[in-house]
Subunit: 291 residues, 2 copies
């Protein structure tokens, strides 16, 4: 630990912790040599009050410099998810894909009728006879937290759907999923009232990040070889995964110039393929899944 | 009924209905002669697509022309409530005053602890041993409706408070109050799940407008003799009622020039006093209350 205070996304300050950066780099699949090299460079440049976001963006650039673009791309999953915005619809699609990769059958934007009122459910997911209604809460900035108001509203909605007169509208569980974090009160309320929360790194053992990493369902916004306009066109057509852009046919259809297509496919393959230089810690979730 | 379509605050169109204007003018205390005169003038000037708001503002100007400034001021209650914004705090204070005038003991911004989480309640009201937690939803524009999300969230919050471990945090009912309207789904949900809604003109028989009129608890923003800055200073100090500004001492304290004070007090007295030229319909609510 150094004594330099850095500024977090929510504006709070905390001492810079090199271990946290190391863990992030390790999660991204960087080798031990790369990690210690990058952490040392970052520590050397550290200044009081620097924003966590900028520090991590720096580390990401170093990772690129070190000739590991796919590792760097994985490292940027978080930013790639923000790039799904500004509307929340592509995040709903992305979430449905993540769950699909984990064996759920999913539908998005489903109209159901509860005991008291009609509701639109962002993602309806089914697996092993269990039906889950999911509210996806997308934030455009890293500091944006999902608070107790959302937890309360989702709880009341799924209570109403749990008692739907028609079985086709009934759900067994309600989940609230976000790409960022929850306030302490939202977590406290949810734990006490049986509302399931899934956030960027919550709960600790199985969260959005671990679910993405485990099945390598990267958002296509992580690709550096596509322009913003090309990404937007794909997103607008409900194509949200990196692994979905691996045919030249599809890329051509959405206006990518033929000459650039091999590059895009090369990056997509690299990004969605198993890690070549991953640290052993990287595979914890998969080991769990296999066990 | 004419065949001219006018534009409502929410953007929808409907045929202009002179009876509605007449009822509003009658509620404001205008005499029958004034009413028929004003309705005729408005109808003469009616053009396709005119906004309800503009038409009613016009009628309000005519009411002033006819030498009934206090009547006109009453007519403007709705606009005076919007002028409590942009923040929702003065509306919370105002709502507490309206309830106080109806015999409730009230407190604003109260921290309570439910079964699962802490909550801040906008207005806590008690009467005849009943404790009510109230969420005040202030909208800055006439078309802004309170929707089912708010109803759901308030329902879950008051469910949590109904089961509070400490009796000092427990409530018997939850209310959702707004200065505008509710969507049809919010009403449907609330009716089915025992959540009490109070809106500008909902429910039909006893709503925010009727409660204000019955006890003549007009917001001080209805006064035309105070500047916006003076009103703001009073609001910022939790003085929200017209009837609270009837002493020169208080007006001086908040920076009103001594020379202008008699005028302000004159208008306030006139505005908060019983109607002189009210139509019989005006007193329906009071007759109910007395019965």
């Amino acid at each position: 630990m150094t004594n330099i205070l850095i500024t977090k996304a929510d504006g709070e300050r905390e001492p810079f912790d090199p271990r946290k950066l190391d863990i992030s780099l390790s999660r991204a699949g960087a080798s031990e040599a790369s990690r210690s090299h990058i952490v040392a460079r970052v520590q050397h440049e550290l200044r009081e009050g620097m924003r966590t976001e900028d520090i991590y963006a720096h580390a990401f650039d170093y990772l690129k410099d070190e000739g590991a673009p796919a590792v760097a791309a994985r490292y940027s999953i978080k930013r790639a998810i923000f790039a799904l915005g500004p509307s929340g619809f592509p995040f709903e699609q992305f979430l449905a894909e993540v769950l699909r990769a984990h064996g759920w059958r999913t539908r998005t934007g489903v109209a159901l009728t509860g005991r008291c009122a009609p509701h639109e459910v962002d993602v309806l997911a089914e697996k092993n006879g269990k039906r889950v209604g999911i509210e996806a809460k997308f934030h455009n900035v890293a500091g944006g937290k999902t608070d107790i108001k959302d937890a309360l509203y989702v709880k009341a909605r799924y209570d109403d759907l749990a008692h739907a007169p028609e079985s086709s509208s009934r759900v067994d569980e309600g989940w609230l999923v976000t790409n960022t974090r929850f306030t302490r009160n939202a977590i406290r309320y949810a734990q006490c009232s049986n509302l399931m929360l899934l956030g960027w790194d919550y709960p600790r053992n199985r969260n959005l990040l671990s679910m993405i990493e485990e099945m390598r369902v990267h958002p296509l916004t992580a690709l550096t070889t596509l322009s913003d306009g090309e990404k937007r066109r794909l997103l607008d057509n409900n194509i949200v995964l990196c692994r979905s852009v691996q045919t030249s046919h599809l890329l051509e259809e959405y206006g990518v110039k033929p000459a650039r297509i091999p590059q895009v496919i090369e990056e997509a393959k690299y990004l969605c393929a198993p890690f070549a230089d991953a640290s052993p810690a990287q595979f914890t979730h998969q080991a769990h899944a296999a066990a």
